[in-house]
Amino acid sequence: MKISKKYAWVMDSLSRSPFSVKARAMKHFLSSKKEYRPKNRTDADIESIIKCSLCPNMCRFDCPVSEAEKNETLSPSGRSRIAYLFEMGFLVDEDVPDTLYSCCNCDACRQWCPFDFSLGDILIGVHRDLVKQNNLPKPVLELQDIIQKKHTLDGKSFNIAGKHKGDFLYFMGCTVMAEHESIAKAMTGIMDKKGENWAVLEDEWCCGAPLYNLGFNEDFVKIAEQNIQKIKETGCKTIICSCPTCAYMFKEIYPKFNLKINAKILHASEYLAELSDSLYNNSEKIEKNCVYHDPCTLVRKLGIAEQPRRVLNSIKGLTLKESYFHGKDTQCCGRGGSLGKTHPEISDKITKKRLKELKKYADCIITACPTCKSAFSDLGCEVCDLSELIYYGCKKDER
């Protein structure tokens, strides 16, 4: 058994202990894997849930849900404790499922976790168990139903005029299709200006992220397989996503299910950052103070912070302000992880808090995630996607 240098202090202490204590300690060490496990087979990552539930909540101060509600049950370790008691059969209560779905999957907790856990990730297995038991809150069932029937998050979609075969596939994402046609027009307009051979899907479906996060594994795989097939038919070499979550799903989650996409996957901000300076130099001067909001998935799951700033810094006249909570220290817009659908009240509180913080720096907010844009603009705020800023030069009337 290889013992990490990290535990040399325990081995040093053990070596000084009497044989009977040593033997008992070793027995506990070796048998611990079998203890504290549910009797029946589950999908839950019980080892991580245990570790999280035994922590004094070291990430609580940065968890948007916990901070919005101020309830121990909704603190990160609190939810893990409930998950553990539920999985072990110690707690059967009607409020358990709702509690375990109240996460915006923003990964803020990971920043402070000595185990590099994200609560959103470790709850996915628990969600799968809840799905198997058909023990689900109504909003979760409604979300599943709409995606299954309409194939998008909001049941809304539009088709943007364009070819269905090309080198670059522009993947809009559900929120662009439902609420931000202007982002799609901006992105395709920029690609036109650049002279790219771009395409869009004839009938774009959801990337499957909500189904994956909510624990509907089989439904997720079906939708993902369908996406793989449709993407293949376009013959694209690069996929450009406006939504960071779509890019993350294609890049990181699909491969975990052996669903491989044979194309380079870029988030829109990565594509925009690689464009020649001439595109910006020819654009209109934008005399404006703006603050950039880092979307959680983009900065924490995909590690993209520099590219959007590179774009913003190259726009003539624009003054970029930084929130104290920027980069990986960003704060969720409130709509991450389907929270806007499953827990709209909590989601709204988180949005208001983030908006208040951003407004300290500038009235105009720039972001690179359509969901963040929806969250802020629904509260009446002036908010622009990076692509819109470039294409429309922030002129509201053209959008």
């Binding site: 009977s20 204590v21 245990i50 035994l54 004094p56 101060f61 404790r81 104290y324």
Partner: protein, 483 residues
């Protein structure tokens, strides 16, 4: 199969519905009797409760939880509870390790987390006034954002609240320079069990009779609920110097720090690790096996910090120190909030805890050895170690850690209590104080009267005068032990 409770056996809510309704009326419906909430408010961070959790045992269920948003709501809640003689348990972030926030008699858990407003920063007087539900890290980040620091950085910074610091008389890692919470707090507002509100003046000092409000420091919710506090703040330090040294023996490191304190030099962070803890925390540093690590972090005005560094460095060298540079201190800064041992070892059957004590220099070295021995005397103890982390010209705080596996046929809680009992007895016998900054809660209750001597009766009289119905946090500090 369902969970069990350790301290109270009732699972059904016993606070009458009409009282719940009254509580809802005064708090804008911020009351819960949901089972999931009663389950999560059944414990704080008393380490044995972690083992219980894994075994499906909860410490004790409250009847309901209330979330007031301001002082007047706290006052109304306490009036209701006092009239009905219902226990009230104040709850901040629940990071206390002695069981001080466990609702052992059921009742109302009063969570102050929604009371987290920062009312004022007074730059000219270097003061901030705020509600006590604020989380430590959120407070420190707010202050840093505005160019200040509180200088109160406990390891629980991320998971503890201002109210908890006041209630348990907390100390932070930078306390040798900035002081403990009693040095940092200037004024407070508190609600008494009958709902009346007291408030002290935000002045540097006054000679106007006893500082009655100071009774609340370390009172662990016995006298009422602290709702607001005014704290000292400092401009964010312009310079930091990091230094570390290794010694062959703990006596040399202690002697070095004692002499530094005698020079009236107060580095912000001073920490001495015994041989086992040096191996635990600095396993990546070269040549630390069988050594004692001493780290310093000095911060403030550049010239002053350099002077502090020169004085401390000379004293350490005179006492046989070998310099280890900045790296061990950087490592400490990076890892000081990595609380992972409880998650790693509890599932492996380990029972552990930490015990912080206070002792004068005159007895310090012998005290350290006797306390280590007192842990080792209990069969099953594997780890028995310590570091010293808060220093005074008069003495030092030793922070002991024990961990082990209960012998066959010994219940984990009995094993746990045996180690605690032996340590507490040794501490009192060896002239120490049984707690430096964690407080009393449940675990230390039975030792408090010995620790306080005749003062304990006065404490009880004050408690009964302020809280004649005994509603505030019952079952703690030995005040009304039923068992």
């Amino acid at each position: 199969m369902s969970y069990e409770t350790v301290f109270n056996q009732k699972k059904e809510n016993v606070v009458p519905k009409k009282i719940i309704q009254k509580l809802k009326e005064v708090t804008n419906n911020k009351v819960s009797t949901r089972e999931v909430d009663r389950v999560t408010y059944s414990k704080d961070y008393m380490p044995i409760t972690l083992r219980w959790l894994l075994d499906g045992k909860l410490a004790a269920l409250p009847d309901c939880i209330v979330w007031p948003e301001n002082t007047s709501q706290v006052s109304e809640i306490l009036k209701i509870a006092n009239n009905e003689k219902i226990p009230v348990i104040p709850f901040g972030d629940g990071s206390g390790v002695l069981g001080g926030a466990i609702p052992v008699r059921g009742g109302i858990v009063l969570d102050v987390k929604k009371m987290d407003r920062i009312m004022e920063i007074d730059d000219s007087s270097l003061l901030t006034t705020l509600q006590t539900g604020i989380n430590g890290m959120n407070l420190e980040r707010y202050l840093n954002q505005h160019g200040y620091t509180l200088g109160h950085i406990p390891q629980s910074l991320y998971c503890s609240s201002l109210g908890g610091w006041v209630a348990c008389k907390a100390a932070g890692q930078f306390s040798t320079k900035y002081g403990k919470i009693e040095d940092i707090i200037v004024a407070l507002e508190a609600v008494l069990p009958d709902g009346s509100i007291i408030k002290s003046k935000k002045v540097p000092r006054s000679s106007t009779g006893p500082s009655i409000e100071r009774l609340f420091l370390g009172s662990e919710g016995q006298f009422g609920i602290v709702t607001e506090a005014t704290l000292k703040i400092w401009p964010y330090p312009e310079k930091r110097i990091l230094k570390s040294y290794v010694f062959s023996e703990i006596s040399e490191a202690l002697e070095s720090v004692r002499n530094i304190m005698r020079k009236n030099v107060y580095p912000a962070v001073v920490r001495i690790y015994d041989k086992n803890e040096t191996l635990r925390h600095f396993y990546n540093a070269p040549d630390v096996k069988d050594k004692i690590m001493l780290i310093f972090l000095m911060e403030g005005d550049e010239k002053l910090v350099e002077l502090e560094n020169n004085i401390s460095s000379n004293i350490c060298k005179l006492n046989g120190a070998k310099s280890c540079g900045e790296e061990p201190v950087k490592h400490w800064l990076e890892t000081r909030f990595n609380v992972r041992e409880s998650s790693d070892f509890t599932p492996k059957g380990f029972v552990f805890d930490t015990v912080e004590t206070s002792i004068n220099w005159k007895y310090a070295l012998e005290f350290y050895h006797k306390m280590i021995e007192s842990m080792r005397q209990i069969k099953g103890v594997v780890v028995a170690s310590a570091h010293a982390s808060h220093f005074y010209p008069q003495g030092v705080c030793f922070y002991f850690t024990f961990g082990g596996v209960p012998p066959k046929n010994v219940e984990p809680f009995n094993f746990y209590q045996s180690v605690w009992d032996n340590m507490m007895k040794t501490c009192i016998d060896q002239h120490g104080s049984i707690s430096h900054h964690h407080g009393i809660g449940i675990i230390r209750s039975k030792w408090l009267s010995q620790e306080m001597g005749n003062r304990y009766n006065l404490f009880k009289k004050i408690k009964h005068t302020i809280d004649p119905n005994g509603i505030m946090n019952p079952g703690k500090m030995g005040i009304d032990n039923e068992d």
